[in-house]
Symmetry: C2
Subunit: 470 residues, 2 copies
């Protein structure tokens, strides 16, 4: 019996918009299947964002290696009575044979920059559109949200508590993975721990306090079973009395040379409660017991609490991270930029695309800070692009790297390694981004320019597009 909640590898190909298939059927019929380049980029920044973090590419590429229409998928497609037998045969044998260039996961990116390029026979690039946008889009949105929370927390430990609030299982997995890339210490999501090697964290539940006759019984039982994980939740009834009960348990533990790890505040005025809890714990000689806060937290609220000097040592972030609540989506597009060796452009109002295959170059100044990005043509070189800059950058680096060739990943890594590399890259890049782009509200706009080669392409394609409507 099929399980709705499941998403099998062999269902990946059917996860597409119908028009990808109908348009592909026309291409097939007209034998339009020359090499095409499709680019994913973000049109504009989501609100209050000064940077974005690329994520999701390795997960996507792994899936592309297994991309196929299985028997059940083919039966369904045939049942729609839309497609000719020859096209259905083509799909039944479909494999992705193209090349992918992408910014490595953890790379900072900005509006207008291609972050991933699929170069493949037209139909292959077309069919992938939905999956590419779906996977890279939210992964990048979530990694960015996590990095913003990490910036606000200024080095304090952050844990993803989002699985219950995420928009489905895949979203929770992506949020856990992306939050680790963005600088979180780990996740409560056990499956994400297994798949991605992310550290898993947990405290204790209100239900445990409620199921026990006395709050203190629950605290003692939990601390006895999990001395290293002994974060006691103190707000099931009255928070301050809960802290007092936790402190009493902590004092008893200390006699046995066991440290009470933390108390967790999950409701009420967290700043005020943290101050009072700190006093109670210190008074009980539990100066090394941490205060963990959760409950409708996001980067803005964390910043407020810390600005008010709330003595909070770690934060659990649920909803705000899991759905990126102030910016649950970003305006990503996946556009044809070249077909059969010729550049292509779209001129829709407010949605103009930039034709031609490209490279993104990042200029770093002598101060080791990122100075600007330049979007160049694919055949431009880092040094060539850098020579045109005033002041001259110390370093000019191309950001799009070959990640897949002929449908196979280049240097594939295990999930855990890919995630850990991405995390390191994000941390290192964030250090090189000037503070004015890191601001949580109204950040400055990082400079992204196009080379004259790209500008010339735009102008000539706009002219050519006129003739396409004749």
């Amino acid at each position: 019996m099929p399980i709705d909640l499941r998403f099998d590898a062999d269902e990946t190909a059917l996860f597409t918009d119908l028009y990808e298939l109908t348009v592909s059927a026309v291409f097939f019929d007209r034998q339009m299947n020359d090499t095409a380049a499709f680019e994913m980029r973000m049109r504009r920044m989501p609100p209050n964002r000064g940077f974005m973090i690329a994520a999701g590419a390795e997960r996507l590429l792994e899936a592309l290696e297994e991309y196929r229409f299985d028997t059940a998928a083919m039966e369904y497609l045939a049942s729609l009575a839309l497609f000719k037998p020859a096209f259905l045969d083509y799909l039944a044998n479909f494999r992705f044979t193209g090349a992918v260039r992408a910014m490595p996961e953890g790379t900072l990116f900005f509006p207008g920059e291609p972050i991933l390029e699929i170069c493949a026979p037209l139909i292959e690039g077309q069919l992938l559109e939905t999956l590419v946008l779906n996977q890279i889009g939210f992964a990048s949105v979530a990694a960015t949200k996590a990095a913003r929370c990490a910036i606000a927390a200024g080095g304090r430990r952050l844990v993803d508590f989002g699985p219950r609030r995420a928009q489905g299982v895949d979203a929770a997995m992506i949020a856990a993975r992306s939050s680790y890339i963005g600088g979180f210490a780990g996740s409560s999501n056990v499956l994400a721990g297994r798949r991605y090697g992310i550290p898993v964290f947990g405290t204790m539940s209100h239900s445990m306090v409620m199921a026990c006759e006395r709050e203190r019984d629950a605290f003692e039982a939990f601390a006895a079973n999990f001395p290293k994980l002994s974060t006691l939740i103190v707000d099931t009834y009255d928070t301050i009395r809960g802290v007092e009960n936790a402190a009493a348990v902590g004092a008893r533990l200390r006699e046995a040379n066991v440290k009470l790890a933390a108390v967790r505040l999950d409701s009420g005025e967290l700043g005020d409660l943290a101050t009072r809890a700190r006093r109670i714990l210190d008074h009980a000689g539990l100066g090394d017991t941490a205060i963990f806060a959760s409950g409708n937290l996001d980067e803005y609220r964390i910043a407020e609490l810390l600005a008010a000097r709330a003595p909070i040592d770690a934060f659990g972030i649920g909803t705000a991270l899991a759905v990126s609540d102030d910016a649950p989506s970003a305006d990503f597009t996946y556009k044809l930029v070249e077909y059969a060796g010729k550049p292509r452009v779209k001129l829709s109002s407010g949605k103009i695309s930039v034709p031609g295959r490209k490279q993104v170059f990042r200029m770093t100044g002598a101060d080791e800070k990122f100075a600007a990005d330049l979007i160049g043509a694919i055949d431009e070189t880092p040094s060539g692009v850098a020579r045109m800059q005033r002041p001259a950058p110390a370093i000019s680096l191309p950001l799009l790297e070959p990640r897949m060739e002929a449908g196979r990943r280049i240097a594939p890594r295990a999930s855990a390694q890919a995630v850990s590399e991405a995390r390191e890259r994000a941390a290192s890049e964030l250090k090189k981004l000037d503070g004015r782009y890191l601001a949580l509200r109204r950040p400055a706009e990082y400079p992204v320019k196009q080379t004259s080669a790209v500008n010339a392409m735009v102008i000539s394609e706009k002219v050519r597009a006129e003739t396409r409507q004749e």
Copy 2:
């Protein structure tokens, strides 16, 4: 090789917060595994909502039947070095043996009402918390968003175009399923079409227009291949010239007795463009060619366009539906309400729970409109509850129905049938809800009260909770 994107049935159990497992380990150790009742309810309405639509239960229940920790899961849990062998053995043999009562999918619900109850040994109910909230939460949020769009569209056809914007694959599947329940005509999501029997729709892509040398070639090719699906996208370059090209193709098709289905506007001032497009099409004798609009639409924008009499016949809704952008989550909780036959309560600031097992009764007046809901104790009867109401309702119906017993679904249905029944139920219930609760902005608050039996329980448990902190 494992595929990250995949979500296997045997991974369902590992999709949980770590604390569900640690707390369960303590319960196991203390032999605390009497029957517990956990309730899922929504604390407060998301912004601008006057009603919510329950969705996701059948998908969840299907998964619960298969809920188990497989070998790989057990290996990972053992590797954490947190759990004792006896508890790991227990997990290795874990099956859900409990009962579930739920509001049928498609039922309207309001804050404070239990929409699903798990009644099972304590550990079983505990472990399911994360999955239950994750699945029912977003499914209900998305069904509600869809219904709001349908209300705004006033009978015009709506199609889910969200897969590329959704937060992962599962979110896209849930959004497609929930949008159909909420009144959409179908989805572009082909996998959702196969799984749920939802009608699939598609237009044509910008890339096809861009890949062809001339726009008109693309229109002719598409219409020739898919005469019944001939919705031509007209905004790749200049929209009005695109409409003129589409009209020219439509006129030629008509000579062959083929109707041009629609033109699709996807950018710019949709209202103005629709008016001009309508004029061009009518002038070309294509009065029966529809105008399909998409591009950053939601219920508010649809209402504005139609209030301004934009001649739009159908809408494609992407981002706003897929992520429910103005309310991407709702404040759902899953709380222990009874353990070992005794009611339980949580008193956290702003997050007080209501103890005891319950039933929700919906009162319908003589005008066949819903008058109010009453949250009663589980042993109260519809007639008993109705007798206490002034004015007396014509009908009093219990909303929570037994859906699972001893870990097996009661009267399981095929996916497609479950979805179609839910869709009918939502449509029928929305007709019975007064217009003031359907308003898209600042709707009235539907009356939900508690019976005196429930009120008495709250008071006595608050008192008892005092003693629990001693």
